[in-house]
Structures are given as structure tokens and as C-alpha cells.
């Protein structure tokens, strides 16, 4: 059987991590193909509903990455993101979502090699955790609930 290829979605800021990932490309540092990047202006823009939606869309893991603390292009957006993440993590536990499937990191525009490492580590870790069946299995339950309660 072929190795499990996790589906990972990355939410990154435009100024640091997106540019850092560009540098990964310019430096031709090869890494796993599993990650799809969604570009946002700042990590402060990342609404954590996006993370939940990613899981709902069948993601096995999520990466959130932006500028290092104090390096934010918008002065403090990443601090908001960090604070929000701390709160959100406890909410995840409450909801029963596996927090290990969300990887939070800082990758600057100069850290092309670090981005490749973040991607490879994420793929390795999520692969070890296996497909996120617990979440995916919720979909049929919800569908059957709907049919029962419809009309």
C-alpha cells in the first residue's frame, strides 16, 4: 500500500512566510508536495474559522505561519494571532479537535530553508498521526442527522 499523503493547508502572511516560501523556491530547496499555501496579508487576518473550515474540507493538518514576534509588517498583527491561538488551542481541546494537527510557526522572509523544514516536519508528523478520520467521520453523522430531522 502506498504511503499516506496528508493534505495540509498553510495560512501564511504575505510579508514574511509567503516571501520566505518564495525564497525556498529561489534557493531550489526541495520539499514535500503536500502543502497548499493560502496567502493573507498578515497572521492577524487569520480567522480561526478558516482552520475549522480547512478540516471540514478534509485537511489532515494545518500550518499557520507569519513574521517573528516584533517583525510584523503591521507592527502587531502577529501578536494578535498569537494571543488568539492561545485561546483557540484550549477551545480545540474542548471541541475534541486534535491540536497536534495545527502547526504554528514563525518563518521570516530570509528563512527559505526553515520553511522547507517546517513543511517537511509537518508532513512527517501529520503522516504519523494518519488521516484525520475522526473529523471526516463527522460528516456522515451530520448528514444522517439532517435526514432524520428534515421535514
Amino acid at each position: 500500500m502506498a504511503e499516506f499523503e496528508p493534505k495540509i493547508i498553510a495560512f501564511v502572511c504575505n510579508w514574511c512566510t509567503y516571501t520566505g516560501a518564495d525564497l525556498t523556491g529561489t534557493s531550489r530547496i526541495k520539499h514535500a508536495t503536500n502543502v497548499r499555501i493560502i496567502r493573507l496579508p498578515c497572521t492577524g487576518r487569520i480567522d480561526f474559522m478558516l482552520l475549522m473550515k480547512a478540516f471540514a474540507r478534509g485537511a489532515d493538518g494545518v500550518i499557520v505561519s507569519g513574521c517573528h514576534p516584533n517583525d510584523c509588517h503591521y507592527t502587531s498583527g502577529n501578536f494578535h494571532a498569537r494571543r488568539r491561538w492561545i485561546l483557540f488551542r484550549s477551545l480545540l481541546n474542548f471541541m475534541g479537535v486534535d491540536a497536534r494537527r495545527i502547526i504554528f510557526s514563525w518563518v521570516s522572509a530570509a528563512e527559505g530553508a526553515k520553511w522547507a523544514e517546517v513543511v517537511n516536519t509537518a508532513v512527517k508528523e501529520i503522516r504519523a498521526l494518519g488521516p484525520y478520520d475522526e473529523y471526516k467521520n463527522l460528516a456522515p453523522i451530520r448528514a444522517s442527522w439532517r435526514t432524520e430531522h428534515a421535514g
Binding site: 526541495k30 487576518r45 473550515k53 494578535h80
Partner: protein
């Protein structure tokens, strides 16, 4: 139904070597809403751009996805091409299949599949894109220069000579700053006042410059091109229009024993005073904390002697409001205070002085008329010790940085001393000699070789007084840490340059960031050294970091040219990637609930609360309102908004979720 065009670039072989570009184009043609999907070798080339333009016109495209390199590379190129073809540029998006795909993966099916995903998600995003229009902001062509030292003077003159209005605000009664206190300047030994005072007069007489001395910035609102500034003009107690600057009041004032700030406490001034003879403006100020009339209620000698009846004891602080387009911060530096040097006895022994005091002693306009004399007994010092790095590069004093100017001015001081006291002995204790600059190293060599100044590499551990001499105990690290004791008559400390008093408070008023030492922070240490992170506010001189006069002047001219460039346009054009609070038809007017949580979250103070009224003028609700001039489009408020009343143009919830749903 959308009419999207997809253009897949090969980038020569950069993309096509690992990604099946034709396959991507074919896959995209099957996505609903895509009416045109092609691949081409060089999309950014002229024929490539023409392909896009032609397709927009022929296929009546209402959205374009160029799948090529990073948007940081060519987004402006393709958006411009779209605009030329009549399509709103913000309906064009780029899918990054080079940096994020072909360059980082081997040729494989997975790589092409990833490219398909990346392009597909941008197709879904572009379907939700709205036409956006760049924001135009008017520019008030008046600059505010804060600080009247050489940095402020240079910036103000450059801006004024470019034909723009300048308002200069200086905290002390005269402009001139630290440079006016200096005796000579390195490495030419030019007389500082001789080169500075003509420029001070030029500022005062320039038709484009309005000068407010003895004034401070009270508050600042607004944004680039549109600042509203309030200036507090402190009461001089002298009617500046009537005063002729004759100086009778200062000579007749009975309170004369006040240490002069200009002479660094080495000379005395009266309670009504002009800081120095060449002051600009040459109008006196009453020091309310020292004046007998203000302290005891009687005296009024100055009022009696004034021939023009210009004294106004009841004058009050005045608040002046000005509209400003750009601000140059040139508030300068300060030197580390006496309390930091107990081991050197500074502040305890009168003959241990710091560099600025030596400048005053050596200056022809100083308390000794330029003769080198000890402050304690007025005798000529036979042996003088200079200590470079007094506080600088010393973590224990909280100043790990190099103050940059001390090596040079210490060499200058030693030289000036030797020129005036030929038989005297001058010693310099130093850590390293940092003489980077045009003719700087030669200058230091001249002090050592021609003027016979003894340079000792080592630190001074302590200084104490014995039989009227100052015993300087130190070590010579080039002679194997040999202990050295010098019986000196005078010691000069090259005390560290530190941020000016109130720098932190001023930075907060202006929303400018500052470093751990309270020097103002530049937007980028290499490429944007005269700009701050707040658009429209620029930096000049030692308020950013310690620096010497030539550097200060060039930085001031740099800041001035940034201001002139800003003022060369009547309107500013900004990217429309900004947040907006929704406004809907009555009866709700907005889904914003007025919780105002977004207000403190905004790093740019761009959000304020607005009252929404119905047609009878009754307030229906309070809702957030975003100032498009201030908003930089970070989107922090968008993620924070609990009712999703705020959205970010260009990265709206609808767009981002559409992208996500394609994956």
C-alpha cells in the same frame, strides 16, 4: 456566470520542466466559469501580455488568473496589462506555481496536481473578486520639522528651498541645538558657530519657514498628507513683536547666578535671558522658576528698563493648530548624566567634566573665552586625561552600543588642548579607536603623531582627589595590563550619547516606534533609513542613533527629499487593500454591533466609532468606521470582528473561503 481566463506560464523551462503546463491549462478549462485557458512560454513577455489583453477583449473576460511566478514578482505587471485592456486590475490574480511548486518539487504527477490545486484555488478566489479603485488622498504641502538643531535646520531649509511651507518647532528658546555649543568641528577644525549661525539666520528669514521656538508638540492626529498638529507655544513673557533684542533686561536683571544650560553649567545666566549671543530668535525668555517676580511677587526690573515695553508677565501658553502633510523628526540626542559615573567622580569633583563642557571651555564664546582653564580654580591644567567610552559599550551602564562620535571628538579635544597649552600633557584612555569617515583616521593620527597626544589602550577603574590633583587609576592593556596612575589636573569624559529626554513620550504621540534605547526606529535599517513605520513621518539626525554632523546633514537632506517627493504630487494614490465596515440599507444600517473591540486592535488607530443617524437625525446605532487613509490593510480587525461586519478588500472572507473550498 463568471468568464475567467487562465494563463499558464512555462517561464522558459523553469515551470514546464517539472509541471505539465498544458495539462494544467487543460484541467482549468474544465472548471465551471473558465472560458479561456491557455499555456505559453513567457507570459510576462510582450507577446504574452498581448495574449492576455486580446483574450480579455475577445472573450469578454471578467477575471484573470495568471499562473506563473510569485505575485511579489509580477503581480504589478499583469495587473497593469489587465488595466490596459480595460479590466479592473484587482480582477487579476496570480497563482504561484514557480517558487511554491516547480522550483521546490521534482517532476512528478504530484507536482502537476499541486499546480492544478494552486491555480484552481485562485480561479475560485477571482470569481469572488470585486473591482477596486486605488484610493486618492489629498496632500497638505506643509512640513513640520520637530527640532531646531543642525538636522532640523538642514531639513527645513531643503524643504523650504524646494518651494514648500515648513513649520519648525524647537523646545528651547533658540534654534541651533548641540552644534551651536561646539567649539570646533572634526576633522577640519572649522569653527562650529561660524558655519552654523548663518544657516540659523537663513531659517529665521526664509519666507517659507515659520519658526516656533520655546514650543513643543502637544498632539498629533491624522495620517500622511493630512496630519493635524497642535503646538504649545510656551509663554516667553516677552512680546516678540515689540522686543528689539537690545539686551538691556538681561544685563539689569538682579537674578544672575543661574547655571547656564548653553554653557553646560560652567557659566551663569540671568532669570530673563537669551541662551547665547547668536541665538535665533534673539529675543529673551523669562525663566519663571528663577525670576524673583514670579517667585516673590515683586521686582519687575526688566519691565522698568525695557525701552519698548515688551515685557508681559501675564502672557499665557498659546496653542497653535496647523495642518501638516509630512513630519521630520529631528529632536537630537542627549549625553549620559553625572549620576552614572560615581567611579569617575563626575558631579563630585569639579574638574571632572564631560565632553560638551570641554567644548564650551574651548569655545571662543564660552565662559573662559576659549582659554583652557579648570572649572574649580581657573588655573591652566598641566596634565589632562580624556576617557573615551564613558558609558558607551558598557552593558553595566545599559549602553551596549558605540556612541560613534566620541573617538573623533576626544581626538579633537586633545588636539585643541595641545594647540592652546603647548607644554601640557594629554592622555587618552580608549578601548578601540573607531575613526571611520573621510579624513577621520588621518585626523586621529595627527593628534597622536604631530600633537603628541598619549593614547593608552585601557580602561580607567577610578578617579579620586589627592592634594588638589585627580588621581586617575587605569591599566594599559597593550603593556600586559600594567597598572597606570596619572596625576591629572582635569579629566574629560566622553560620555555616551543617549536618546533625548521625552523621546519615548514623543514617539508615542506620533505613533512612531523606537528601539530599546529610545532612539526612534527607522522603517528598514538598510533600505529605508530616513522613514519611520508611520507613513509621512521621517527621521533626521541623532534622534535615530548617535551620529556626527556630516551624517546628520546628509540624512536630513535625505528626509527632506522624501518630503519633497511626497509634496510633488497633489494626491496620494494608495492600494485599495483596506478594511471596510459594511453599511446596509435601513433599518439596520450596518451589521456592526458597536462593541468597539476593533478600535484598540488596530495598529494604526484607523478605526473610530461613528454615530449612524436616521433621516430625522436620531442616532440609530454606533458603528465602527475605518479611515481609508490610515488603514494599511493588515486585516487584524477582520479576524477579530465577532459579527463579521468588517471585511478586507482583496482578501475578503468570501474570497479566502472560496480559495479554501477549492482545495
Amino acid at each position: 456566470m463568471s468568464r475567467i481566463g487562465v494563463f499558464v506560464c512555462h517561464c522558459g523551462e523553469n515551470i514546464s520542466a517539472t509541471v505539465d503546463c498544458a495539462g494544467v491549462a487543460e484541467a482549468m478549462s474544465r472548471v465551471p466559469g473558465v472560458v479561456h485557458s491557455v499555456d505559453y512560454k513567457y507570459m510576462c513577455s510582450d507577446p504574452g501580455q498581448t495574449m492576455i489583453k486580446d483574450a480579455i477583449k475577445e472573450k469578454k473576460l471578467d477575471g484573470v488568473v495568471v499562473s506563473a511566478c510569485s505575485p511579489h514578482m509580477h503581480e504589478p505587471t499583469f495587473r497593469r496589462a489587465c488595466a490596459e485592456a480595460g479590466l479592473n486590475p484587482y480582477l487579476c490574480e496570480m497563482a504561484n506555481i514557480r517558487e511554491h511548486c516547480s522550483w521546490v518539487h521534482e517532476k512528478s504527477e504530484a507536482t502537476t496536481l499541486k499546480a492544478i490545486d494552486l491555480v484552481h484555488k485562485m480561479v475560485e478566489k477571482v470569481k469572488k473578486n470585486q473591482p477596486l479603485y486605488s484610493i486618492k488622498v489629498p496632500v497638505t504641502k506643509t512640513a513640520l520639522v520637530l527640532g531646531g538643531g543642525i538636522a532640523g535646520i538642514q531639513a527645513a531649509l531643503d524643504i523650504a528651498n524646494a518651494g514648500h511651507k515648513v513649520v519648525m518647532v524647537e523646545r528651547s528658546p533658540s534654534i541651533g541645538g548641540h552644534m551651536s555649543q561646539l567649539s570646533e568641528t572634526f576633522p577640519t577644525l572649522d569653527c562650529s558657530q561660524c558655519i552654523l549661525t548663518p544657516r540659523m539666520v537663513e531659517v529665521a528669514q526664509h519666507p517659507n519657514i515659520t519658526l516656533y521656538t520655546y514650543s513643543e508638540l502637544e498632539s498629533m492626529d491624522g495620517f500622511i498628507g493630512n496630519f493635524k498638529v497642535r503646538i504649545r507655544k510656551k509663554a516667553r513673557c516677552v512680546d516678540e513683536k515689540l522686543c528689539t533684542g537690545c539686551g538691556l533686561c538681561t544685563t539689569k536683571c538682579p537674578t544672575k547666578k543661574i547655571p547656564s544650560e548653553f554653557n553646560e553649567g560652567l557659566g551663569m545666566r540671568s532669570a530673563i535671558y537669551v541662551p547665547f549671543p547668536q541665538a535665533v530668535p534673539n529675543k529673551p525668555v523669562i525663566d519663571k522658576t528663577q525670576c524673583t517676580f514670579f517667585l516673590k511677587g515683586k521686582c519687575k526690573v526688566c519691565e522698568k528698563v525695557c525701552p519698548t515695553k515688551a515685557i508681559r508677565y501675564d502672557q499665557e501658553d498659546e496653542i497653535i493648530e496647523v495642518d501638516i502633510g509630512a513630519i521630520v523628526l529631528a529632536t537630537g540626542f542627549n549625553v549620559l548624566g553625572a549620576e552614572h559615573f560615581p567611579e569617575y567622580g563626575y558631579g563630585r569633583y569639579r574638574d571632572v567634566i564631560q565632553g560638551l563642557q570641554f567644548e564650551r571651555i574651548a569655545s571662543a564664546s564660552g565662559p573662559t573665552s576659549g582659554a583652557i582653564r579648570r572649572p574649580s580654580d581657573g588655573t591652566e591644567p598641566e596634565t589632562i586625561v580624556f576617557i573615551a567610552c564613558a558609558g558607551s559599550r558598557d552593558e553595566a551602564k545599559g549602553i551596549p552600543y558605540c556612541s560613534k562620535i566620541c573617538c573623533m571628538y576626544t581626538a579633537k579635544h586633545a588636539m585643541l588642548y595641545k594647540h592652546k597649552v603647548h607644554h601640557g600633557k594629554a592622555y587618552v584612555f580608549y578601548m578601540d579607536i573607531r575613526a571611520g569617515g573621510k579624513m577621520y583616521e588621518e585626523f586621529v593620527r595627527r593628534a597622536i603623531e604631530e600633537d603628541d597626544v598619549k593614547y593608552i589602550r585601557g580602561r580607567v577603574s577610578r578617579i579620586y582627589e589627592e592634594d588638589g590633583k585627580l588621581i586617575v587609576k587605569g591599566a594599559d592593556t597593550l603593556l600586559g595590563h600594567q597598572a597606570i596612575e596619572i596625576r591629572a589636573d582635569m579629566v574629560v569624559l566622553a560620555s555616551a550619547a543617549v536618546a533625548n529626554d521625552g523621546a519615548e513620550e514623543l514617539a508615542q504621540k506620533l505613533h512612531v516606534s523606537y528601539d530599546p534605547y529610545h532612539f526612534f526606529a527607522e522603517a528598514h535599517p538598510k533600505l529605508r533609513p530616513v522613514e519611520t513605520n508611520t507613513a509621512g513621518i521621517f527621521l533626521a539626525g541623532a534622534c535615530q542613533a548617535p551620529r556626527d554632523i556630516p551624517e546628520t546633514v546628509s540624512q536630513a537632506s535625505g528626509a527632506a527629499s522624501k518630503v519633497a517627493a511626497l509634496f510633488s504630487q497633489s494626491e496620494l494614490t494608495r492600494e485599495p487593500v483596506i478594511a471596510v465596515v459594511n453599511r446596509i440599507a435601513p433599518p439596520l444600517y450596518s451589521t456592526c454591533t458597536g462593541c468597539a473591540l476593533c478600535v484598540p486592535a488596530c495598529p494604526y488607530q484607523a478605526i473610530e466609532m461613528e454615530e449612524i443617524k436616521n433621516r430625522d437625525g436620531v442616532v440609530v446605532k454606533r458603528a465602527a468606521k475605518i479611515n481609508p487613509g490610515l488603514c494599511q490593510g493588515c486585516g487584524t480587525c477582520v479576524a477579530l470582528c465577532r459579527v463579521k461586519a468588517i471585511d478586507l478588500q482583496g482578501f475578503s472572507n468570501e474570497q479566502v473561503f472560496a480559495e479554501l473550498m477549492a482545495l
